[in-house]
Structure formats: C-alpha cells, structure tokens
Amino acid sequence: MTDHSYNFAYLDEQTKRMIRRAILKAVAVPGYQVPFASREMPMPYGWGTGGVQVTAACLVPEDVLKVIDQGADDTTNAVSIRKFFQRTAGVATTVATAEATVIQTRHRIPEQPLTAGQILVYQVPIPEPLRFLEPRETETRKMHALEEYGLMHVKLYEDIARHGSIATAYAYPVRVEGRYVMDPSPIPKFDNPKLSDSPALQLFGAGREQRIYALPPFTRVVSLDFEDHSFHASKAPHDCDLCGASESYLDEVITDDAGNRMFVCSDTDFCRTRREAGHVGRLGKTAGGGA
C-alpha cells in the first residue's frame, strides 16, 4: 500500500526532474560522472541515498523491485530500502532476479545474467576512481577532461612491482568505451566482466558525493590491466557448500570456535533457485529440507 502522505516514490516532482535530466546525460556520456543536487533523504548518507534517489526517479507503479546488499535480499539495509519503496511507491517487490524490473544493489551484480528491460541501480560511496590517488575534485575533474589516466596506471603498476600482481580486489577500475575511467562501486572484481555488454541498463548513484553515472546496455567496459599482467576475475577456490555451484561468488562463514568454515553463495536468490532445482552442495540439504 502506498503511504499517501508522501509523493509517489517519496521525492517531489522537481527533484525527480532534476535527477532524471542527470540520468539522461549520464546515459549520453557513458562513464562520465554527472553532478546532481542530491537531496537529504530519510536515511543516512553512505547508506544508499544515491541509489535510492536514482531508483525513485526511475520507478513506475508497474515495476517489480528487488533490493540486495552483499548479494542478499535479507540483509538489514536491503530490507530497509525495500520497505521504503513499498511504503512510498507501492511497487511490488521480489527476491527473484528474473522477475525484477528494477534491482537496487550494494556491492554485487546478481549471478543470473540480466536481461533487456531490467535496470540495475548501484549504490556508490566514492564515485571517483582517481580519488585515492588525488583527493582534490578540481584536479580529478581536469584529469578526466584531459583523459590523463597515467596516475592510475602507475598505481596499478606499483602494485605489480611490489606484490607481483594488482592489489585491488574490489572497486576495481574500468575503462568505458575507451574513454572514461570509472569506479564500478565496491563490487568484487569477480563481478567486473558482467559490467560489459550487459543487455540491462546500469545506473550508478552517489548521494553524498552528488554524482550519477551510467552504462547503457551493450556498452564496452574493460577492467584496467597490462599486457603482461592481464585482469583476472577471482573468487574463493571452492564450490558453494549449500548448492554446489562452482561459478558463483562465495561468502566465507565461520561455523564454530575451532575456526571451521563453509563457503556459500553471496547471491541468496541464485543459491535458493539452485537448491530448489535439486542441486546440493557439500553441507547442503535440498531446499525442502530446510538447509
């Protein structure tokens, strides 16, 4: 049920227009961070206000919304954001990736390939991929304008010199259509290949930092690397202990005081769907058995 004391999807129409214009410019210049006048939301900065504003500007009453945090639908912040839109937009919600028309995410891309007509909205804490190399906005803006990405390559190469490989495991920088270097939000680099050539529209919202950027469908996205040190999307070298999946990103769960651990899919919907289809992992029971 919609809470009628608020406008549809919470934001006032003028704010939505402003965000919508920013989203369109972001789509027109893939990977470029469009400044927008982010509003104070009824949840704290850093907790998804950018994603929430982008989702609010995109939602239609007919949408089916899925919200995940760390790949899971039942993490507390995902629950809180889903509830917010149930209350203010009255949209249907789902945990099934395939049923969702809009998916808001923090830190993961769903395992199940996205389809045309779906929108994936990322919550972004620090949208500037160069920020940790150069803290000044005035400088990084110039670097993007002049396509001066040497600093980023130097940093990655220093990693290789010191550690033998690039020591960035998440928020791994990408180059969009050969032009803008972009922060894919803190997804594990395992998810990076899914950014490229996706049939779905991908939108990125950073509320506190007041930036929106986008990857239209079928946009070429390349993880930065070197000829002699090519990018590798890594994950824990295990299968899911519940559903047996070998190709999904895994969470490591410590199961007892002796330090025993199990590995389970971080994408809860993916794991559930597999178990319902009869797949069983090392420690799993079928979904009916209540694993």
């Binding site: 104070e40 900065y45 912040n77 919600t93 005035t138 495991a169 990103y249």
Partner: protein, 362 residues
C-alpha cells in the same frame, strides 16, 4: 505479491521498539515536553536550527527529543524534513543593521554609539556547578529591564569604513547560489562558502578557526562586532508589488576585523571575516567568520601556507556533519563481500611470498 520477510525485517522492527523504550527512559520520571526543550535547552535548539538550515524552534525541539539529545541526529532529522518542504520564494536579504539586539559587543572599541550590550552570556559566569538547579521548582528572580534603544544600532565596522580603513563589501543584486539545490562546484564563490559554513558542523569550524589562531593560516582576527537579536524576514510578493513581513528570526552575526598588509593593487587596510547563523550560536558565528577570512587568502593575494583552514575544497567537502556522520557510520553496514575479496587477495599474495621463500631456502 511475494515479499521477502526474513530475519532482517523482524530484527529491525524489534530494534525500533527497543529504541522507543530507551528514548522514554524510566516511565516513573515525567516525560519531557518539547516546549520544555524549546524553552530550557534553547542553545541546543539553536544549534539544530543553524546546522539543520531550518528556522523552527518547535520542530528543532521535537528533533532533539526524538534523537534522545544526539544533536547531529537531530540536525539530520531536520534536514530530511526540510528537503520535503515546498519553496514559495526567497526572502529579501535580512537587514542586520536594524536588528533588535539582545547582545552586542565589540572587542575593537571600548565604547561605540549604541553601547555594548552584554545580554544573556556565559562569558563572565564562574563555571561552578549550581546545585540549586538540581532542586526542583526554584523561581528565577526577574532580570533588571531597560527600554530597548529607540534607534537601530549601526554596525561597528561602518565607523572604520568612514575612514577607508576597512575593505568595503558593496551590496549586489546577484542571486546567491544554493548548495541545497545545485551540486557543489569548485572553486566556490564566497556566498556559497558562507552558506556551507553557516550550516557546517560547529565542532569542525571551531577547530579550524582555532587552528588559524595557532598559526595555521593566521589572520590576526579581532571581533569587530558580535550581535545577537531578531530581524524581520520580508518576502517580495510579485502580485502586490511590495515586500511583506512574514515573520522574524533570531540571528547571531559576527564581523571580524583582520589585519591586511596590502597588496600590489591595494593599500594596507583592515579586512573582514563574516559569520551569520540562526539563533544565539555565537561560538559558531565567530568560528565561521575566522574560517571565512582564512579562505579568502587567494582573493586578497595572501600566501597559501598549506593550512587546512585555507583549503577551500578540504573545508567545504568536510564541514557538513550530516554527510560526515552518514559516511563514517556506514562502515557499520555489512562489507563482507569486499572483505572476502580482500581475504582472497591476501591469501594469494601470502602464498606467493611463502612459495618464493620456500624456494629460496632449498
């Protein structure tokens, strides 16, 4: 409609119920009224109004009650409410020269037309705990009254102005930028900086201002004038063709007088730092005027000494406590996916080093 209801949802509901109970405290103790907060914790109310950018003492009092006295949380509640309010127009600039002052002091002149008015200040109190306040119901004797000055009190800096000893700031009709409506763009104009400072965190500005006094971007500031009082707020009504007074607000205004050695184009003269905040919030207003002055180094042709208070981007991007607290506290949220990827990386790097060491040992 399938709705995901799992542990998370129940945990949140239960936490909210627990919070409500804790907020109320011992039910045997009378509940605090928002009118009591508004009247008796007025400086807290003022701070919430100043940093919340919303002049409404009743709502600020409610926010303080709801936030259990956490003033940054209260500021956040006010800000989130403020963004939902429709805008009917912009007021005319308030005329602080016609302020009905309850306090007006100058550190630069022993006396000035209109006189020094101490007003309700802690300044000369002895900071001794007053145990009488712990007892209930003590009537407060009336403070002596004096008729308000009939003429408006001129700004002290206008006296220096007359001799050309202080820079002038001519009025303009430019519409100031509004960082609540447009994304922050750097470098910022002074008007935008002042808006950001005015709603910035009092503690942050206090420390920055203090750092300039200790030499990190020193500006040799004197309080030219600090005045606190009420001013009328007027709104132009296009249909009427004139301005209508829609209410009044209490403000604190601080103008500092700062040494300036002169530049290639300007003779030596005094310069100004400016602070303006809602309510009686004088620590904030003074700090604001010091930071404002420190940020003006470039325009005045002064040296950039690398001091934090001179660094516009550093100051403006970190002054907002609602932004800061949100981002700081978000690291409480689950990050296990990122952490997992770091775990894998560390394991891989360690394995490589161990293997290399083992090989070297053979």
């Amino acid at each position: 409609m399938y709705v995901a209801v799992k542990g998370g949802e129940r945990a949140i509901d239960n936490a909210h119920a627990f919070l409500a109970e804790e907020r109320r405290g011992d039910p045997a103790v009378a509940e605090l009224g928002t009118d009591q907060i508004r009247e008796q914790l007025r400086l807290a109310v003022n701070r919430v109004m100043a940093e919340g950018s919303l002049y409404d003492p009743d709502l600020a009092a409610l926010a303080i009650k709801q936030a259990r006295g956490d003033l940054i949380e209260a500021v956040f509640l006010i800000r989130a409410y403020r963004t939902t309010l429709p805008r009917f127009g912009a007021a005319r600039p308030v005329a602080t020269g016609t302020m009905a002052c309850t306090r007006r002091i100058s550190a630069t002149f022993k006396d000035a037309p209109g006189g020094q008015i101490l007003g309700p200040t802690f300044d000369y109190t002895h900071r001794l705990l007053d145990f009488k306040l712990a007892a209930e119901g003590g009537a407060v004797p009336d403070a002596p009254m004096q008729p308000a000055p009939s003429a408006s009190l001129p700004h002290i800096t206008t006296f220096l102005n007359r001799d050309g000893l202080i820079e002038t700031a001519p009025p303009t009709d430019d519409t100031p930028p509004d960082l609540t409506r447009e994304p922050m763009e750097l470098p910022a104009s002074r008007a935008l900086r002042l808006q950001a400072l005015s709603r910035g965190d009092e503690g942050f500005l206090l420390s920055l201002a203090y750092s300039t006094q200790r030499g990190y971007g020193r500006t040799h500031a004197f309080v030219g004038e600090l005045r606190i009082g009420t001013v009328a707020v007027e709104l132009d009504i296009p249909e009427l063709g004139f301005a209508v007074e829609i209410g009044e607000v209490e403000l604190t205004e601080c103008e500092t007088v700062n040494q300036f050695k002169g530049s290639k184009t300007e003779p030596p003269q005094f310069t100004r730092g400016y602070g303006l905040t809602f309510g009686q919030t004088e620590r904030k207003a003074i700090a604001m005027s010091l930071v404002d002055r420190a940020l003006r180094w470039q325009e005045l042709g002064e040296d950039h000494t690398g001091a934090p208070a001179q660094d516009e981007e550093f100051v403006l991007m970190h002054a907002d406590n609602v932004q800061a607290t949100g981002f700081l506290e978000h690291i409480k949220l689950p990050h296990y996916v990122d952490f997992q990827s770091e775990l894998e990386l560390i394991r891989k790097l360690r394995a490589e080093v161990m293997a290399a060491q083992a090989e070297a040992a053979e």
